[in-house]
Amino acid sequence: MTRATAPAGPRERAPAVTSSSPAAIPLRMYFFLQIALSGLATGAIYGLIAVGYSLTFMTTKALNFALGMWVMLGGMLTFSLTVQYGVPPLVALPLILILMLALGAVAERFSVAPFLRAGSDVWVMSTLAVGLLMIDFAEIIWGRSPTPVPSFFGNAPVRIGALSILPQQLFIIAIACVVFFALDLFYRRTLTGKAFRAVAHSGEVSALMGINTRRVQVASYAAAAAFAGLAGFMVVPLTLAEPQMGTVLGLKAFAIAIIAGLAAPRGILVCGLAYGALEALISGYLYTGIRDILGFSLMILALSLKPEGLFGRPVEERA
């Protein structure tokens, strides 16, 4: 990356850190780090949604294409509970997760399972249809105007050296890391997690080995919905609550899942964070208008170079 090409005539203005100014860092470094840091928060959200695509792809080779709308549902529920009914966020979160788990399982039952059984690919359309229905219902229930949801930690920025970040953004990055770490442990250390991986590898063999593949499949869709709900819960103070809040997020998360490799949950966090930072840097050094063009072109490039994803392993078919 060329150094600070875009900022025409950079002036030597120290980052406007008010009182107790921490050790000053060179302006160019500040520029880079501050932009990248804020991008990481956006990337963490992408990663958290993207993991949902991965979960269901691993168990069924199918996806809930409308995860962005599920993010929206999580966000709108957060709005209803915390703002409209005054439920404390810590109480609201488990309620939302339980509801999302249940709805995810129900949606799988109607919009995915019948088609998987029939060996058809109609789930592409049916999951999308469920998402569009969710937007319509959300517009009827909550209206279309964006409504603010106060950040759970206030708006006073957190200082990291000369850099600053909103507490909500820091929270998002932290939670995403915790979730991925826990998921990694789950896949590697727990019996259920191993069952997931077994089903991912081969449903038929797993069934023969006594694993209830059907249950694993439902669980993966429920979990994907819950992760989307969690993402919605965390991002809604930044986007404001409105029925379209998740659409683009879901799309970008999908790109990240593809770039990382749908069967590579570990890589998804890395890719999510990297994509978020890259997007912000493109905005900062080049131009916001070409951000998505570059981002999605990169996805196509990555796919053509490594179809299984940057972190995916080629499937070895053993005869």
Binding site: A4, A6, P7, A8, G9, P10, R11, R13, P15, A16, V17, T18, L27, F31, Q34, I35, L37, S38, G39, A41, T42, I45, G143, R144, S145, P146, T147, P148, P150, N155, P157, S164, I165, L166, Q169, V235, L238, T239, L240, E242, Q244, M245, T247, V248, L249, A280, L281, S283, G284, Y287, T288, G289, D292
Partner: protein
């Protein structure tokens, strides 16, 4: 028994029929309104309706227009131009309204403008829609009768006003643009670029953002690094909330001036303290010291609708429009063509948005609010205070007694 029941039903039907006709007798003068009464823009749409209702009730309580009652016939166009067009036809051709209040959506007004001028020929005063071409339309250009009037901000004028305020009033020559990539932001950006160019300036940074962005850090830092003295913007509450939060996070105090998309309580509700110091251009603010007439209407609104105004520009715009119609109708009669012509020759008018000491409209100028009438406001502790100027510089009235001057550099209170 059956007969008796039928008889009662029939009587009820006749009564209902009579009641319907009784509500709006042939003697009544109908004013039409089609706008968003549901959906996201309904806060504007309802406030137009309410402003009109309050004015009409006041007028009727004092004997109406030469003894004839005013009646508002309103329709919900759901912010959808297709519905607006259909409802305009219905209101004029079936309901026989003699005058209209403009819709909530510029696209709606642009769609009905040619139909109004060529076929319906009923005057329309727009309180909320700002697309320049609504009033500066084909009929106006061809020198034909133009039925479209406006008592709100208009595109070109607003962009000029925002730019001129920052460049001329505050002396900022290094100006950055930061605009939304949505429809309104795109036209706004072009207008701002044009005006800067007319001042011989090029923006030191020209940034954009999308609706679904969750952070504006790169744009703000880039603008700051470009040495901008102020930032001009066209966007709505949602995007500007993010801008405000990001600016606050980065400790950025570059003055930020936005068009009237954030000129209402919704912005402070969304952005809170982060909105402190942000500027918004508008036609009217109901914060800070107010005239007794305005205070009375604010109080009436509060009592009648049990809430505070969401869109004061719309309430007062509609309210003043109805009084303008009344004035012209009493002078020139209630024929739509006469009302249209009459609006072009109102020499002075004491409205609540403004006390017009000059013709409200002229044949060439169908925008009541000119660049000189627009006001710049500063979000100050939850209130949108008008920025005024005297020899010592720009200031705001915090209340009747406290006057605070602004630092021209960062627009902070001194």
């Amino acid at each position: 028994m059956i007969l008796k029941q039928t008889g009662t039903g029939l009587a009820a039907a006749v009564a209902a029929f009579l009641a319907t006709f009784g509500a709006a007798s042939a003697q009544d003068v109908k004013i039409g309104y089609s706008g968003a009464l549901s959906g996201p823009a309904s806060f504007t749409g309802l406030d137009i309706k309410r402003g009109a209702e309050m004015a009409i009730d006041e007028i009727n309580a004092k004997g109406g227009v030469k003894g004839r009652k005013l009646v508002l016939v309103s329709r919900d166009d759901e912010h959808n131009p297709v519905r607006t067009v259909a409802q305009y036809r219905e209101l004029v051709e079936r309901e026989r309204v003699v005058a209209m209040l403009g819709a909530t959506n510029s696209a709606s007004m642009l769609a009905v403008t040619p139909i109004v001028n060529e076929t319906l020929k009923v005057p329309v005063i727009c309180p909320a829609t700002d697309a320049t071409a609504i009033t500066e339309n084909d009929a106006a250009k061809a020198g034909q009768d133009n039925y479209l009037f406006r008592i709100g901000m208009y595109g070109t004028g607003q962009a000029n006003f925002i730019t001129d305020t920052m460049v001329k009033r505050f002396g900022h020559t290094k100006v950055a643009l930061l605009n939304w990539t949505g429809g309104w932001g795109v036209t706004g950006r072009t207008e701002l670029q044009r005006r800067l160019k007319e001042h011989g300036l090029t923006p030191v940074a020209d940034e954009t953002f999308d609706s679904n962005d969750t952070d504006m850090t790169p744009q703000i830092i880039k603008i700051r690094n470009a040495g901008a003295q102020s930032i001009l913007n066209y966007a709505l509450v949602r995007e500007n909330t993010l801008v405000a939060q990001t600016k606050q996070k980065l400790g950025d105090d570059t003055p930020y001036a936005s068009a009237w998309g954030i000129a209402g309580p919704a912005f402070w509700k969304a952005a809170g303290q982060a909105a402190e110091g942000i500027l918004s251009s508008t036609t009217i603010t109901i914060d800070g010291p107010q005239s007794p007439e305005r205070l009375a209407l604010i109080e009436t609104y509060r009592k009648r609708y049990n809430q505070e105004m969401d869109a004061p520009t719309s309430v007062f715009g509609a309210y003043d429009s109805v009084y303008l119609y009344k004035l012209v109708m009493e002078r020139d009669g209630v024929d739509p063509k006469a009302i249209r012509a009459g609006l072009e020759s109102v020499p002075a008018f004491k409205g609540l948005i403004k006390d017009f000491q000059r013709p409200v409209f002229t044949k060439e100028r169908h925008n009541a609010i000119t660049e000189d009438d627009m006001i710049m406001t500063r979000w100050t502790n939850g209130k949108m205070l008008e920025i005024k100027y005297d020899d010592k510089g720009p200031y705001v009235d915090i209340d009747d007694k406290t006057k605070k001057y602004l630092d021209k550099k960062n627009l902070a209170l001194m």
